[in-house]
C-alpha cells in the first residue's frame, strides 16, 4: 500500500520556524509588558487579565466545541480541517496559568470577596453560598480540569486514528463529544457568570451565559477560519478544499454574527423595557461618559460591518475576505470582552493605555505560539478519519 494513496497525498509540511518565532516574540513582549504593568497598576492589569483569560477560553473552548459538534452531528464538510480546530483547543491547557495571577488577586477585582460586605449587604448575603472564594476557586479548577480532560480524550483519540485508521475511534469520539456538549454548555455559562458577571455582584442577567457563548463560538470560528484559509492557500492541507468549504465556514461565521447580535439585543431589550433600576444600571454604566462610544463602536464593529461584509454569497467564498473578517471578528470579540469587564474598573469612561495594548499582544502571542508548537508534532489533517474522502469531495 503506497502511503500517498492511504494518506490522500498529504505532504506533511511543517509550519516555518518564522511563525513560531513571531509567536514567541509577541508572547515575550506581551509578557514583559504585562508583568511590568502588574507592578505599576496591579488592579488595572488584573482586569485586563480577565479579558485575556476569557478571550483564550473563548478560542480554546469554542474550538473544542466545534470539534465535538462535528462528531455529534456527523458533519462531513469540516473533517479535512478539523485538526486545525483541535490545535486551537490546546489553548485550554494554558488557561490555568493565565488564571493564576487572578486567583491571587481576587480581593482587588471582586467586590464579593470581602466578607464584611457580604454580611452587611442584604442582597449579597443571599448570594453568599455561591459567591465565596473557596467555592469560586473550586469551580474554576473543576471546570479547567474537565476541559483539559475532554481535550485529551477527544484529541488523543483523533490523533491515534491517524495511524490505526480505525472507524471505531470515530465512534468513541462521538460518545465522548456527546458527553462533552452538556458539560460545555454548563461550564461556559458559569465561566461567564463567575469571571465577568460577578464583577457587578448585585446585577444579574439570565441570558448572560448565552451571550458569552455566542461570542465564544464566534471567536473560535474566526480563529479557525483564518488559520484554515491561510493554511489551505499555502498548501498545508489536502488539495481539493475549495469554495464550497469556504462558503460553509463563512456561512457559519455569518450565522453566529447574527446570533451574537440577536442575543445582545435580547438582553438589552428586556432590560430597557422593564426599566428596573437594579437591571438598567449595568447598561447605564456602559453609556456613562466615553463608554458610550465603546458601546456604539461594538454594535458597528461586531455586527454592522461584518454583517454587510459577509452578506453576499461571493464574499463567503472569497478567501481574502474571509481572512480579513476572521481577524476583524477576533478583534471585535476582544472589544466585546473589554466592554464587559472594564466598566467596573473605570466607571467614568474607558481607559486605553499601554497596559490595554500589552494584553492583546500577549493574547496573539499565546495563540500563535500554542498553535505552532501543537502543529509541530501533529498532522494538519486527520488522515485516518473515515469521512475524510467525502469531506474533501464535499459540494454545496
Amino acid at each position: 500500500m503506497s502511503s500517498s494513496l492511504t494518506n490522500f497525498g498529504y505532504q506533511g509540511k511543517e509550519l516555518p520556524v518564522k511563525v513560531r518565532n513571531i509567536g514567541l516574540a509577541l508572547f515575550l513582549i506581551g509578557l514583559v509588558l504585562a508583568v511590568f504593568g502588574y507592578f505599576v497598576e496591579p488592579v488595572r492589569s488584573m482586569f485586563n487579565n480577565i479579558i485575556l483569560l476569557t478571550f483564550i477560553v473563548s478560542i480554546g473552548l469554542g474550538s473544542l466545541f466545534f470539534v465535538a459538534l462535528e462528531y455529534v452531528s456527523g458533519a462531513i464538510w469540516s473533517v479535512p480541517f478539523r485538526r486545525v480546530m483541535e490545535f486551537f483547543a490546546a489553548l485550554l491547557l494554558i488557561v490555568p496559568f493565565i488564571a493564576l495571577p487572578l486567583l491571587f488577586n481576587l480581593h482587588d477585582i471582586f467586590h464579593w470577596t470581602h466578607p464584611e460586605v457580604m454580611k452587611t449587604d442584604k442582597l449579597l448575603a443571599g448570594k453568599a453560598p455561591y459567591l465565596n472564594e473557596e467555592f469560586f476557586i473550586v469551580r474554576f479548577l473543576v471546570f479547567a480540569a474537565l476541559w483539559i480532560l475532554f481535550y485529551f480524550a477527544i484529541t488523543l483519540t483523533s490523533k491515534k486514528q491517524d495511524i490505526t485508521k480505525e472507524t471505531k475511534l470515530t465512534r468513541r469520539n462521538i460518545k465522548i463529544s456527546a458527553v462533552f456538549i452538556p458539560v460545555f454548555a454548563l461550564t461556559v455559562s458559569f465561566t461567564a457568570i463567575d469571571w465577568l458577571m460577578t464583577l457587578e455582584p448585585h446585577w444579574f442577567s439570565t441570558i448572560y451565559g448565552v451571550y458569552y457563548f455566542s461570542g465564544t463560538v464566534l471567536a473560535a470560528l474566526a480563529a479557525g477560519t483564518y488559520a484554515i484559509v491561510n493554511l489551505n492557500e499555502k498548501g498545508y492541507l489536502l488539495k481539493g478544499l475549495d469554495k464550497d468549504h469556504y462558503y460553509s465556514l463563512g456561512a457559519l461565521l455569518f450565522a453566529f454574527i447574527n446570533f451574537w447580535a440577536y442575543i445582545a439585543f435580547s438582553q438589552f431589550l428586556l432590560i430597557w423595557y422593564a426599566n428596573l433600576p437594579e437591571e438598567t444600571i449595568w447598561f447605564l454604566q456602559r453609556w456613562n461618559g466615553s463608554w458610550k462610544y465603546i458601546s456604539i463602536l461594538l454594535i458597528i464593529v461586531q455586527f454592522v460591518v461584518p454583517y454587510f461584509g459577509l452578506l453576499s454569497q461571493p464574499s463567503k467564498k472569497d478567501g481574502k475576505k474571509l481572512k480579513f473578517f476572521a481577524l476583524w471578528i477576533l478583534a471585535a470579540h476582544y472589544i466585546d470582552l473589554y466592554w464587559l469587564a472594564m466598566p467596573t474598573f473605570s466607571k467614568e469612561g474607558f481607559v486605553l493605555g499601554w497596559i490595554e495594548l500589552a494584553y492583546p499582544i500577549l493574547a496573539v502571542g499565546i495563540v500563535v505560539l500554542v498553535f505552532s508548537l501543537k502543529s509541530k508534532k501533529n498532522n494538519f489533517v486527520a488522515i485516518g478519519d473515515p469521512k475524510l474522502k467525502r469531506g474533501i469531495e464535499f459540494k454545496l
Binding site: 438589552f268 431589550l269 430597557w272 423595557y273 426599566n275 454569497q313 464535499f394 459540494k395 454545496l396
Partner: protein, 378 residues
C-alpha cells in the same frame, strides 16, 4: 398524433455519481437547453450544470429592505401619529421596542415574497401542463433514478447524436418525450390577461366578502345578538325603568362618601358668618395661588384687576380690589365661589372646600398688595 411534437430526449442513470458525470459531459458538449431531474437535491449538480448564481438573492434583499421600511413606517405611524399612548413613560416612538416587529416584518416580506417570486417568475407557475409530466421518465426520477433531459429546442440538438451521447455515458433507458403544442406554455402565466383577471376577481371577492361580513352581516339578526343584550349600559336608554334612563339617581338625602353638602344654598348672609379655617401658611398660599391662576385668573386676571385674558369673548368681571369685595368676609367670597354670581358659574365641582379657602387667602394677599395696611409699611 400529428400534433405531437418532440419535446426532448431523456436518459436515466442509477447513481448520483453517474448523473454528475453525465451532466458534466452534456454541458461540455455545449448543450444549453437541458435539465436534470433527481429525487432529491444532489450536491455539486449546480457546478456540473455550470449554472450561474441565482438572482433570487437580490429579490430577497430588495424585499427584505422594503420589509424594514414598511415595518418602520407602520410602527411609527401607529404609535407616534395615529394612536400615541404613554407606555411606561417611554417616548411615543421608542425604537428599541419596534425592532422585533420590524425584524419579523422583514422576515415575512423576504421569505413569503421570495417564495412567491420563485414560483411565479422562476418556475413560471401556475403551469399544469409541462411535457415531462405524467411520463415514465418523471415517475422514475421521482422515486429512485437520476435523469437528464435535453430539449429539442437546443441549437445543437440532433436526435442521433444525443442518443449516442447517452449511450456512451452508459444510460440504461433512453426515451423521447412528445407533447401537444396546445397544452404547453413557455410564457410567464402570471402576465396573461386571464390570470390577471382571475387575480382581480379573487381580490374583489375576498375583500368584498370581508367588507360585507365586518360591516353589514355583523349588524344583522341573528349575528347582532351578542352585541345587543338585555342589560343596562351606563349613559344609555333603558326600557327597564319607567323614566327610560339606564342610570339611577341616588335616593333623596343620600350623600357621597367624604362629601359634605353646602348648607347655605341661596343664603349669602348666613354664609358670611363662616370663618376661614386655614392659616395663611406657605403651603396654603401656594395651593391658593395655583388654583387661583388655574380657575380664576382667566377672567379676573392674575392680579385680580378684572383684566381678562379672554380678549372680549366673555364680558370682563369687575376688579376684586373694590371696596365692596375688600369688605366682604371670607365666608361671603366662599359663597360666591361655591354658587357663582351673575354670569360667573359655580366652581363647586372644580375646587374642594379647602382649596376654596386657600384661593381666598391668595385673593386677600392680592388685595393687600394694592391696599396695604399701615402696619404693613412699617
Amino acid at each position: 398524433m400529428s400534433e405531437k411534437k418532440l419535446y426532448s430526449y431523456t436518459a436515466l442513470f442509477n447513481t448520483p455519481d453517474e448523473i454528475i458525470h453525465a451532466t458534466e459531459k452534456v454541458s461540455e458538449k455545449g448543450y444549453k437547453n437541458y435539465d436534470v431531474n433527481t429525487p432529491y437535491p444532489v450536491h455539486g449538480l449546480d457546478g456540473a450544470m455550470k449554472l450561474p448564481p441565482s438572482k433570487l438573492g437580490y429579490i430577497a434583499l430588495v424585499l427584505g429592505l422594503s420589509g424594514i421600511m414598511a415595518g418602520l413606517l407602520m410602527t411609527y405611524w401607529m404609535s407616534a401619529v395615529d394612536y400615541p399612548i404613554n407606555i411606561g413613560g417611554k417616548p411615543v416612538f421608542s425604537f428599541p421596542a419596534y425592532i422585533p416587529i420590524i425584524f419579523e416584518i422583514t422576515v415575512l416580506f423576504a421569505s413569503v415574497g421570495t417564495v412567491l417570486a420563485m414560483l411565479l417568475f422562476f418556475f413560471k407557475l401556475p403551469n399544469n401542463s409541462h411535457p415531462l409530466h405524467g411520463t415514465n421518465y418523471m415517475k422514475a426520477v421521482s422515486s429512485d433514478k437520476y435523469g437528464i433531459s435535453i430539449s429539442a429546442d437546443d441549437k445543437l440538438f440532433i436526435e442521433e447524436e444525443v442518443i449516442n451521447l447517452f449511450k456512451e455515458l452508459g444510460s440504461t433507458e433512453i426515451h423521447p418525450v412528445y407533447y401537444d403544442e396546445v397544452e404547453v406554455n413557455y410564457k410567464n402565466k402570471i402576465f396573461e390577461p386571464n390570470f390577471i383577471m382571475f387575480l382581480v376577481v379573487a381580490f374583489i371577492l375576498t375583500s368584498g366578502a370581508t367588507y360585507v361580513t365586518l360591516n353589514k352581516l355583523m349588524y344583522m339578526v341573528p349575528f347582532d345578538w351578542m352585541s345587543n343584550q338585555e342589560k343596562v349600559i351606563p349613559q344609555s336608554k333603558s326600557m327597564f325603568y319607567s323614566d327610560g334612563f339606564g342610570m339611577r339617581t341616588p335616593v333623596e338625602g343620600t350623600i357621597a362618601r367624604g362629601h359634605i353638602p353646602y348648607p347655605y344654598k341661596g343664603n349669602p348672609e348666613a354664609a358670611s358668618a363662616m370663618p376661614n379655617p386655614l392659616l395663611p401658611s406657605k403651603e396654603n398660599m401656594k395651593i391658593g395661588q395655583q388654583k387661583y391662576d388655574t380657575y380664576c385668573s382667566p377672567c379676573h386676571g392674575f392680579h385680580a384687576e378684572g383684566d381678562s385674558r379672554l380678549r372680549g369673548q366673555f364680558p370682563n368681571p369687575p376688579s376684586l380690589h373694590s371696596e365692596k369685595v375688600r369688605n366682604w368676609t371670607d365666608g361671603r367670597i366662599f359663597h360666591v365661589i361655591t354658587e357663582g354670581q351673575n354670569i360667573m358659574p359655580a366652581y363647586n365641582t372644580q375646587l374642594t372646600n379647602d382649596e376654596k379657602w386657600a384661593v381666598i387667602l391668595h385673593l386677600r394677599a392680592l388685595q393687600r398688595s394694592l391696599n396695604a395696611k399701615e402696619t404693613d409699611l412699617q
